[in-house]
């Protein structure tokens, strides 16, 4: 008792406790994956199809202007961003499960800050998305994509994938808190992923889009994720918006979305 009062008053200790609890929530999800990794294997099929079928075909027809870069190189980071987005946008489904079972009630009754619950969930989505990075790197090597193996670049990719997936995951949590049923959640998830994906620079450069779509693409966080991924994953590519802007936009998006998700968290228990 004396100890917990102390933790409340000392800001350093409460930050440490916040970080620790966030990591517990994230680790929990990772442990679940370790017990049953089939979901991740199934998730790997879709990006494989995009790269092997769509990527190869459009590389050979030269239909999309990508400058010096072969199309398959151009699209590899885009497909990584896309599959991370898909994993993240449906991760809110676990909230609906947990609410129906009563798991969420137990977490809300524990002395865990709502922000730690939301951030922990979001980060676990980020960790899931990392598995996709591994898949994409393997496929890219097989397909002969010139990759950038600079350790700093790899570290950048790691951080970026987690950051962006955490942002989309938090967005997914918000939807889950608002819609409440599985069917509606799936419907809205499907509805949202396609605009995010197509209104971005994932599979074609923004410059070939009509003006109105360019405006939307510039406001889409996925565009910044792809821009940074392309810069970090491929040698000799310069960022369109600057890595600072890319990371900044994604960090801001994640922070704002996690805060909103944390505010909505208690709604799940009513």
């Amino acid at each position: 008792m004396a100890k917990s009062t102390y933790a409340r008053k000392n800001p350093f200790l409460s930050i440490a406790s916040f970080v620790q609890k966030t990591l517990v929530i994230a680790e929990l999800e990772v442990r679940k994956l370790r017990h049953d990794p089939t979901e991740l294997l199934i998730r790997a099929v879709q990006p494989a199809l995009w790269l092997v079928v769509f990527g190869e075909v459009f590389t050979s027809v030269h239909a999309i202007p990508t400058g010096q870069l072969p199309y398959i190189d151009f699209i590899a980071p885009g497909i990584l961003a896309q599959s991370a987005l898909f994993i993240a946008i449906f991760s809110g489904m676990t909230i609906i499960w947990e609410r129906d079972l009563g798991i969420i009630h137990k977490f809300l009754v524990s002395p865990t800050p709502r922000e730690a619950l939301a951030l922990g969930k979001a980060l676990s989505g980020g960790v899931r998305a990392l598995s996709q990075a591994v898949v994409i790197y393997i496929l890219a090597v097989i397909l002969g994509v010139q990759m950038n193996w600079n350790p700093l670049g790899l570290l950048g990719v790691l951080v970026l994938v987690i950051l962006a997936a955490a942002a989309f995951c938090a967005f997914s949590l918000i939807i889950a808190f608002l819609v409440k049923t599985r069917e509606r959640f799936m419907g809205i998830g499907q509805l949202l992923t396609m605009p995010f994906f197509f209104a971005s620079n994932a599979i074609y450069p923004i410059s070939i889009m009509p003006k109105w779509l360019q405006v939307i693409a510039r406001g889409n966080p996925l565009t910044y994720e792809v821009d940074a991924l392309r810069t970090l994953m491929l040698p000799g590519v310069t960022s369109t918006y600057g890595l600072g802007t890319d990371f900044g936009v994604l960090f801001l998006a994640m922070t704002v979305l996690v805060i909103i998700a944390a505010q909505l968290y208690p709604r799940a228990a009513t």
Partner: protein, 266 residues
């Protein structure tokens, strides 16, 4: 001093008053049963006392802390087992405990020992490293109680602790609840719609009807007050509410939820 003290505690959902100016006391070390049919407001009371739901008006103190002004302190002092099955099936029994040991700030040095002690207390040591989805319904319930006592709470809230369990598993859960109170002196507030359960387990009961407490006291006193030989709590209930126990406003959603819980248990 009472461990739980509510004063005109009220919760409305739109036009429906689920809990209506509830005033009650729960003494330390009591096993207190909140009785009533589905829809009487029991779960709403528990949700307010566990800080999941804000009251519309009125106030309550749990372990000496106000549920509206100091919810963080209340959360540290209580344990809670929701009505639905809430242990995570995709984790092992031990992992389920480990998570809550950390969320409840159990000191690192004590985590493992307390988790194993709680498992042993609930008779689940052999199943500690098995995935919870392989557990029986009674085992899941006991695991959940183990989860909720890791931090040695002052008050433990059990919402329909034996719902969906077969008679044998129900008995085992009852025994564990009684032992918990005897050994650690934990105050237990539970809800049930089974009069037999309340009669066996609870030192004090409160009968809820349409959001209000209509009778409150030890089961024997309540029975004696009505008089007659072989009076059961069920008779007491009918006496005070004029209602039959079954078939009270359970919504479609609740029904499907209960069935789902039952299916998971089966």
């Amino acid at each position: 001093m009472a461990v739980i003290e509510t004063s005109n505690l009220t919760r409305r959902f739109g036009n429906l008053t689920a809990v209506d100016k509830l005033t009650m006391l729960v003494e330390p070390g009591d096993i207190f049963g909140l009785l009533g049919p589905n829809g009487a407001g029991k779960t709403t009371v528990i949700k307010m006392l566990t800080t999941l739901l804000r009251p519309t008006s009125g106030s309550a103190l749990v372990a000496g802390f106000s549920i509206t002004r100091h919810p963080a302190q209340v959360r540290k002092s209580i344990g809670y087992v929701p009505q639905m099955l809430s242990a995570d099936g995709s984790l092992t029994g031990y992992e389920n405990l480990w998570v809550f040991a950390r969320l409840y700030d159990v000191p690192r040095a004590e985590r493992e020992e307390r988790a194993h002690r709680a498992l042993a207390f609930m008779g689940l040591e052999d199943a500690a490293d098995k995935l919870v989805r392989t557990y029986s319904g009674g085992m899941i319930r006991r695991l959940e109680i183990a989860q909720s006592i890791l931090h040695q709470p002052t008050v433990l809230f059990l919402d329909e602790p034996t719902i969906g369990l077969d008679p044998l598993a129900r008995k085992v859960v009852w025994e564990h609840i009684m032992q918990l109170q005897e050994r650690y002196g934990t105050t237990i507030l539970m809800t049930t719609h089974l009069m037999e359960e309340a009669d066996q387990l609870c030192h004090t009961v409160a009968i809820m009807h349409r959001g209000k407490i209509v009778a409150n006291g030890p089961p024997d006193e309540l029975k004696a007050a009505i008089g007659g030989r072989r009076t059961t709590l069920e008779d007491v209930f009918v006496h005070y509410t004029g209602d039959v126990l079954q078939d009270m406003g359970e919504s479609y959603r609740e029904t499907s939820r209960t069935r789902r819980t039952a299916r998971r248990l089966g």
